[in-house]
Amino acid sequence: MKLENTKAQMRKGVLEYCILSILSKGDAYASDIIKVLKEAEIIVVEGTMYPLLTRLKNATLLAYRWEESKQGPPRKYYELTKKGQEFLSELDSSWNELVLAVKKIKQ
């Protein structure tokens, strides 16, 4: 049992939840999401996020549209799909349960 593995497993699940939460507040493009995640210090390397975004998109929890940008090439704007919203609310309640459970155990 490796600590690193366990940590990575924990973070991976939470990361999906975080991305969905960010997008629930409004559409965002990749760099915006990264900025929030980095500020919250939940990701170390940015590269981790792209596979996640792609996977969530392929699971039709997310969708994206191309939007022109002043500074450069068009950007991918991600938004939560209906399925994503449902998924997120499921995650919300299970997250709360989890936090409670851990709290209880820790006391």
Partner: protein, 523 residues
């Protein structure tokens, strides 16, 4: 001054330093190795690329808009190395990436670690040792292998590519080649068996096969396949070890002047080189032994190389290495044949010179024949001593001397004189040359009253070569005369006819009288 390239990352144009470009390319390639196989993966890479473009665009202003290697390093730090990005659902990713590196370990020349061409640096990276060690070994090998050492270096220089991209540099270092990795190779095979078996068990094939026997056979097949691979690895280890031992023996036999205890081709404590020097000039001998070395060395090296490949399963430029060694092998074989033929031509003709001496009548009717063996240092006592069919080669203070054994025969004289007939024989390129060679034989015998002293050996002048010289001494003895054969003659007398058919070795220490029907033992 630095070369700058212009690149386009997801629609944005950047100027980038060459080294930075290589680093970036290597990074993207390593990402591609990780993700690139699927549609999903390509999308991920596109996203990452556009993010890289974005970050670059933020950092470089238009005026000094060149991306340096530092920027690229920063990008890699921000985005994360492939092994830091966890993509797949399960947690075996890390392990697999590591295995891939091992499989892909390749020999490159290291451009960051060069004295001449980076061969040593690359080898050092490959074997995970310090480059200085490799260089020292190369230098030491000059004394062992001589020019072969340089040749090996040049072949490596030509055959091994330079590690240009980061991906290649990663491949160059790879995972350490250690004993524990050999063990890992074997363990991997066992793991494969387990996995294959599990896969097979869950496959439709298995479910459909009701026949128990077929199942058992299939399982056997999987096990045998793995056993075969493990046996290959063991054979590889055996190849490497035996090859290395043969190599050491070969090198010492050919060049190092013989190593005590090594009996190669029946040569005892004598290197091939000095032996061949008896036949030909040092230059030709050098060429010949070098060619001989390659002819023997290349197949052994191929065995060692094959063994190493079986063990470590690395990629290499087999085509170049194979063709180079095949070419070298054929050239060497050609050299051996050409030298062989030209040397053989030195033995084409033979010639014989005869001289007849009259021996003064001794007082009494008895001649005492003796060998002047005491005047010679016992040849056996030299360090390097070689004796084959009348050719004796000794080394005396770095000089090689050729000795031959004369042959003494006694026949009946058909006149009243005691005659000594000397026949010198030799071979040579031509009749003339052969006669010259025969005349160059140095030999000494002398008569003092009734005693005749024969040298135990004839010699050939320095720098003259062995051309199958022979020296025959025939003593013609009239009827009624007696000879005493001293024990010292035992090595010289050759097939002397006598009435009792006594062997040469039994004839010594005895008096022999010439009777009308032949040589007879006297009482």
């Amino acid at each position: 001054m630095k070369k700058t390239l212009t690149i386009n990352i997801s629609g944005l144009v950047f100027h980038i330093d060459e080294d930075a470009f290589e680093k970036l390319q290597g990074y993207l390639k390593s990402l591609n190795n990780k993700f690139g196989a699927t549609e999903e993966g390509r999308e991920i890479i596109t996203d990452i690329e556009s993010r890289i473009a974005e970050i670059f665009a933020e950092k470089t202003n238009v005026k000094q808009g060149v991306i340096t290697i530092k920027d690229v390093e920063k990008i890699i730090e921000i985005m994360g190395k492939p092994e830091e990005i966890d993509a797949s659902e399960d947690d075996t990713t890390e392990q697999e990436t590591k295995q891939d590196y091992r499989r892909h370990r390749r020999l490159y020349r290291d451009p960051e670690n060069t004295v001449i061409s980076g061969v040593s640096g690359g080898l050092a990276a490959y074997f995970s040792v310090d480059p200085v060690l490799v260089r020292v070994i190369f230098i030491i090998l000059i004394f062992v292998l001589g020019p072969v050492d340089f040749l090996i270096y040049i072949i490596l220089w030509a055959a091994v590519p330079v590690a240009r991209t980061t991906a290649q540099k990663l491949e160059m270092r790879g995972e350490k080649v250690t004993v524990s990795n050999i063990e890992k190779s074997i363990k991997d095979e066992f793991k494969n068996v387990k996995e294959n078996y599990r896969e097979y068990k869950t496959s439709k094939e298995y479910q459909n096969t009701k026949d128990g026997l077929t199942r058992i056979l299939e399982v056997f097949g999987i096990i045998i396949k793995a056993m075969f691979k493990i046996i290959l690895i063991i054979i590889g280890i055996a190849f490497v070890f035996s090859g290395a031992i043969i190599l050491i023996m070969l090198i010492s036999a050919l060049f190092a002047g013989g190593v005590a205890g090594i009996h190669l081709f029946g040569f005892n404590n004598l290197a091939i080189t000095p032996f061949l020097n008896a036949f030909s000039d040092p230059g030709i001998v050098w060429l010949f032994t070098t060619a001989l070395f390659f002819v023997a060395f290349i197949p052994i090296l191929a065995i060692v190389y094959g063994g190493v490949k079986l063990i470590f399963k690395f990629k290499s430029n087999d085509k170049v290495i194979g063709l180079t060694s095949l070419g070298l092998w054929l050239i060497s074989l050609g050299v051996i044949i050409v030298i062989g033929i030209s040397e053989a031509s030195n033995f084409r003709s033979n010639a014989k010179n005869s001289e007849t001496f009259i021996i003064n009548y001794p007082q009494g009717d008895t001649l005492y024949l003796k060998s002047a063996i005491n005047q010679f240092k016992d040849l056996d006592s030299y360090d390097d001593y070689y004796d084959l069919n009348n050719l004796i080669l000794i080394e005396d203070e770095d000089e090689y001397k050729i000795f031959g054994k004369p042959e003494l025969d006694i026949v009946q004289s058909n006149n009243p004189d005691i005659e000594l007939i000397i026949k010198k024989r030799s071979r040579g390129k031509s009749k003339y040359n052969a006669r010259q060679n025969a005349n160059l034989i140095k030999y000494h015998w002398s008569q003092k009253d009734s005693l005749i002293l024969f040298d135990p050996y004839f010699t050939i002048p320095e720098n003259k070569k062995w051309r199958q010289q022979q020296y025959n001494i025939i003593l013609k003895l009239p009827v009624g005369k007696t000879v005493y054969l001293d024990h010292s003659l035992i090595d010289i007398i050759y097939d002397i006819d006598n009435v009792t058919n006594t062997y040469d070795s039994k004839m010594v220490d005895k008096f022999w009288t010439m009777q009308p029907d032949g040589l007879t033992k006297s009482q």
